[in-house]
């Protein structure tokens, strides 16, 4: 994998520590030690996300809900925070979305008969699954399916290499480098130009 060739220019909302400007909350975190890939991408190991509509607590909960819907155990919170960023932006634009998200978080607490966010991650996930099909769940799932996977940190994590044109494509960079199966006959796969 060509991790070092993936660049993060103005890392999509999660970047250097940004302290309070506007908005009601700031979500902060540190890249986990395990995520060496991301550490090479991010300008700093600390990240912060300024929220416009949601509070710190709500933002942190939404991040956990997103983890429950798309449980990639080794994917860093910094990537999930990109989903929270987009949910927050939608909530800032539309009060209906804000209340949908707040009501959903309350429902999770109800399901937990207390503090859902305080449960361990598997217990949290099991309760999130019970919300499947609700507008709350679908809003987060639908946002995540683009936001979680359409950013360069996620690409680095999953090993996808993104744009190749700038590097001349893969013509001289491994489009035929699979070595655990026999090479096809030359009739089937002629030599490159």
């Amino acid at each position: 994998m060509k991790q070092t060739s993936v660049k993060v220019d103005s890392p999509v909302g999660v970047s250097r520590r940004q302290f309070l400007k506007t908005g009601s909350g700031v979500l902060m975190g540190t890249l986990a030690a395990a995520s060496g890939v991301l550490a090479t991408l991010a300008p700093s190991r600390s990240w912060a996300l300024t929220l416009s509509a949601m509070s710190n607590v709500e933002g942190a909960k939404l991040l956990k809900v997103t983890r429950g819907i798309f449980p990639h155990d080794t994917l860093d919170d910094a990537v999930y925070a990109l989903v929270v960023k987009d949910l927050d932006a939608a909530a800032a634009k539309d009060a209906g979305v804000a209340s949908l998200l707040r009501d959903g978080l309350k429902q999770l607490d109800d399901l937990a008969s207390g503090d859902w966010a305080g449960l361990d991650y598997l217990a949290r996930e099991n309760l999130v699954i019970k919300m499947a099909g609700t507008d709350f769940f679908e809003k987060i799932r639908g946002t995540s399916v683009v936001s979680l996977y359409n950013n360069e940190m996620a690409w680095a994590h999953f090993g996808y290499e993104g744009s190749s044109y700038e590097m001349g494509g893969y013509f001289d960079r491994g489009f035929q480098d699979l070595d655990w199966l026999p090479d096809p006959d030359a009739d089937a796969s002629p030599a490159k130009a």
Binding site: F70, G169, F171, F175, Q176, L181
Partner: protein, 522 residues
Amino acid sequence: MANIKLDDDSAVVVIGSGAGGGTLANELCQKGIKVVLLEAGKRESAASFQNNEWGSFGQISWLDKRTTSGSWRVSRDFSGLPAWICKTVGGSTTHWAGASLRIQEHEFRARTHYGDVAGANLLDWPLTLQDLEPYYAKAEDKMGVTRTNGIPGLPGNNNFKVMYAGAKKLGYKNCHTGRMAINSRNRDGRTHCRQLGFCFQGCKMDAKWSTMNAEIPKAEKTGNLDLRPSAHVLRVEHDKSGKVDAVVYVDSDGKQQQQKARVVCVAGNSIESPRLLLNSESSMYPNGLANSSGQVGRNYMRHMTGSLYATFDKPVHMWRGTTMAGIITDESRHDPARGFVGGYEMETLSIGLPFMAAFLDPGGWGRDFCRAMDNYANMAGMWLVGEDMPQEDNRITVHATEKDQHGMPVPNVHFTDHPNDVAMREHAFGRGRAIYEAAGANHVYPVPPYPSTHNLGTCRMSAKAEDGVVNQHGQAHEIDNLFVSDGSQFTTGAAENPTLTIVTLAIRQADYIAGQMAAKAI
């Protein structure tokens, strides 16, 4: 470039600049005929195309409002996006993967060979493979199709290696890197493929043939082409005698214009072409233009499709290199012993991480979904594409109440699989799974059809006027100077990717139109 006046009624007006319209326009211009080419989308280029799936999707896709109905899963998962096709100069030739296969002889005579399939509206084409062979040869030369005209095949990528290894173990005989309209060597002023892996996003090398990078620039050099991008056609008008004589469109400034025409050729893809004919209804043609048979919009086909992605213990990096890097053609034969009529092709396919999330299991989530995504780098993929049955009720209609940004009724796309389609898909999933397991897959994921890329059949060719909309030249049965020039003409779908045949029909149609104009028949 020509500057044809709006009131000039001597030109041929072509609507749509994709495989059919773009090719037809160039062929006519080469013969000295003036052409106004109206394209709803903007003009992009290799320089402006993006190696970015969602970015490109927003740049070149047709995203105008559409509705869906029927039992196909696309209607549930992508209710506003029945088709993944383009609104840009070059149409969907900017997006296509490049597979260029001739339709087989028996497929042109599907009714004869397949018999009376219950619920299917099968019909033989009013032409044969023999009729098309010289035109296929011209198309292959024009498009630089590999493995024709002495052009070498493309080098296979990692995704192909996996398919090939499995195919050999199962005893498939015909597995290779395909007949592709992608340069394996520099040719026709365009460079060879650099294996970027973004064929669907518009080729940034111009190695892949498109009407944008080949036909339209050549047509412009003749001085006979007046290309108007951002010209969205609303309706086709006719005179008192019933002949079409003008096209009304919204120009790039949002103003309505009327372009006079001697001949009108509709090539807006199999959703927009019938929609335009239906929206052009008048007191003389109350059911829409060219529709006394009632067949306009009917027999909508979208190919039996499905995909398989398989994960392996070791990396594949399938996204490196051509999107459609190889093919197995053994299953494209007609062999009813398999439990269905017609056949299918198996073609490698790769999509990037962002689209994998959207298409692997639309609406999907949870641990199984995440496990597949976690193994993205170790994934190989193939697309299954076969002949689907034409059905009268699978059709494009214009919506009773929903309107687009120009106030025109939007198209509704209604589709339900025929039992033959379902049986073929099951068979194809089984064979594809066997191929990947033979190559060592640890898990295989069957993926339901994407929004349609092969939209066919809604203005079909027929020998008799009551069975279809156009004759073997794409000429409307009831209006001599109105032509359909895209995949809407297809009488049946055949198993093959349709672009080569659309281009072939356009070359043949250009000869016919030129002859008819010279004879003053139109």
